[in-house]
Symmetry: C2
Subunit: 397 residues, 2 copies
């Protein structure tokens, strides 16, 4: 029993963490419950039930399958479902009329052939990347509705009345979802994408700012303990940036469905976020390479370090600052190129200083092996300065 | 009209390409059509229709939503749907009995509260990463079935008969999907994951083999034209490896549902593939850093090149060969550590040679700036040798 109690406590803590990490999850769960309770009124409330009959259950079904965490996802699914149902409904009724031209034994054969052809063709279109990204659910509903109508139409009479009832309950269900998801504590995919990009830039900035002072030990000795406390977090933070591509893409797809909200207008240039995201990831790859040179088993030549130390520390901290200021200007959506540009310029000056210093320097006491690691760090930093400049240009576009 | 014709031709070409790239797509589309035609027999064929009535439509619905491209995905969705329907059905009937204890006006209120609580709780569980990965669809069907039963149970009589009919048609639909997807040209997620990992390793191998001879120009002059032909393809191939993490994860999740097939037994260690995949990606990050030093605007010191040339070309080509042989042994599922190990050992010897050469060398005519880029290439290659050794260990585990 002690073990079972432990497990329950552990589970409780996981639930609490999940809710605390993002309280919108709890709110979303309550919103789903609310939307479901609203549409079940169609069943419970006599006057409504008399109107829709057992078709009311389609409203419940629609809410469960359409309601998603983000407004854009809900809207996309809702619109896909509505349009696909309409289109497939019309085609299905057409197919039934066509089959009526044949004799009794021929009817099911004609219908089966039509269902086969349409399902196979529509399934194939789901492999088109553009359709897959935005209309996958719509195509599925299209196949579903068409088959249901042409199959059940063979037996059911009063088909049009049934179709009408179903369509209206689906619309009610979809409208309830969209209404609840937009007006009760909305979770906008666009806002999430915006925040994700800004926080990714921030993470890289933290790494670069931390790296400069750690690796080149510019900081005073007194700061060392504090630095090694922050150490772990800044050295791991950037890792998540490496794998956010698919998240960014799906958020951008959802965001395209969303109406204007907050500081985002409809047709906000979401694609631009993907471009920035790709450049940020490019920079993260370089940081990943940089990170593997953090510790080094061969002692670095102090002579060489003196040559590169100052300019490299400058490059690292100035690109970090540039990224910080870019993250701030993305967050605030302000077109403020100056402050980032200033840091970018400073980091580029540092690159020039480095090149001049290297050209002038000669090794006296050190062998080549002892400079390899530091030389690599220096040239990766030069690449990073380039990347940061690209990010800066792209943000201010 | 000329423009329209152009567009049609263009579209036709895209369709053809989509089909040719992976002919299994065409087959999958036909399989969906086949499964749908099979289950619509329930409606068309009188004796079956008499048994199931209009509930037969649930078989059609099940086929459309459950049938997926890969066997594992279909099985996972089918089992999720079946189990969730059973569980939610039982709970739903229980909820109806509970509500019968209350008076007429109280019933809908009790039911609405139950639906609200259950839907909110179940929606929250979808945020658990483990549930999200494998049981997301099951939880959705659970909410759906529970709400449908407890809402419609309030009005519909003969609930048990209806539930029984629906459950059996859902089982028929699910079984048809699973049968068709397993026995008609099956597409196994496990096999796809296996191939993906092997081809990712291959792509890195191609890069490394190409890089050595290109960058250090070891090849004879006569080969130059041929090399620059291959040039473009090997330098881009590895890029896709950077972003396959989410594909690998979903394939592994599907593969866990699959029974033994071909050379894979049930409970094949799919997790091991994810580990290898992560190491391969790690190596790809280093290659990405390497790739940015392919072209260089500052002339590299010929003196320094002579020092590192031989051992670096060796490192690059031997790690490439090691990866090639690892890819082959993954493909063939042969436990053949020797041939890869041999190349890994050779590349490690080359690392040692490089270190010795660097320790002994001194620069006479060159400044430090002119060696930076080549020094970086050399130390990234050292990192890659490490990575390849890790991949080799992980493959032979």
């Amino acid at each position: 029993p002690g073990k079972a109690k432990d497990k329950v406590v552990k589970f409780g803590k996981r639930v609490e963490k999940l809710g605390k990490d993002d309280p919108r999850r709890v709110i979303h769960s309550l919103k789903v419950g609310l939307a479901l309770s609203l549409v079940s009124l169609i069943y419970y409330w006599r006057p409504l039930y008399d109107g829709f009959g057992i078709s009311g259950i389609w409203a419940v079904l629609t809410v469960v399958v359409v309601f998603e965490f983000r407004v854009g996802a809900t809207l996309g699914k809702g619109l896909n479902r509505g349009l696909a149902t309409l289109l497939a409904g019309a085609l299905g009724v057409g197919a039934l009329h066509l089959s009526n031209l044949f004799e009794n034994e021929g009817k099911p054969i004609v219908l089966a052939i039509l269902v086969f052809l349409l399902a196979a063709t529509a399934t194939f279109t789901r492999f088109f990347p553009t359709i897959k990204a935005r209309y996958d659910y719509g195509v599925m509903v299209f196949i579903l509705t068409f088959s249901m109508i042409s199959v059940s139409g063979y037996r059911v009479e009063k088909l049009l009345e049934m179709a009408h009832q179903r369509l209206s309950t689906i619309l009610i269900g979809g409208a309830t979802c969209i209404f609840v998801s937009i007006f009760v504590c909305p979770v906008w995919a666009g806002q999430d994408l915006h925040n994700l990009i800004a926080s990714n830039i921030d993470k890289l900035a933290n790494y670069l700012e931390g790296f400069g002072s750690e690796y080149f030990q510019v900081s005073k000795d007194g700061d060392c303990i504090e630095a090694s406390e922050n150490d772990k977090s800044f050295r791991k933070g950037y890792k998540t940036v490496l794998n956010t591509k698919s998240t960014e893409e799906s958020l951008a797809n959802f965001a395209k469905w969303e109406p204007g909200h907050g500081r985002f207008l409809f047709r906000h240039p979401w694609k631009q976020y993907l471009n920035i995201g790709a450049l940020v990831r490019q920079c993260a790859y370089h940081i990943e390479a940089l990170n593997s040179h953090f510790t080094n088993d061969i002692e670095t030549s102090a002579e060489f370090m003196r040559v590169i130390q100052e300019s490299c520390a400058q490059m690292s901290s100035e690109s970090g600052k540039a990224l910080k200021s870019l993250a701030t200007s993305v967050r605030a959506m302000k077109h403020d190129p100056e402050s980032a540009k200033e840091h970018v310029e400073k980091s580029k000056t540092a690159v020039k200083d480095l090149k001049t210093a290297l050209k002038a320097a000669a090794l006296e006491d050190s062998d080549l092996l002892s400079i390899m690691s530091a030389a690599t760090v220096a040239s990766i930093l030069v690449e990073i300065v380039d990347c940061v400049e690209n990010i800066s240009k792209s943000v201010h576009e």
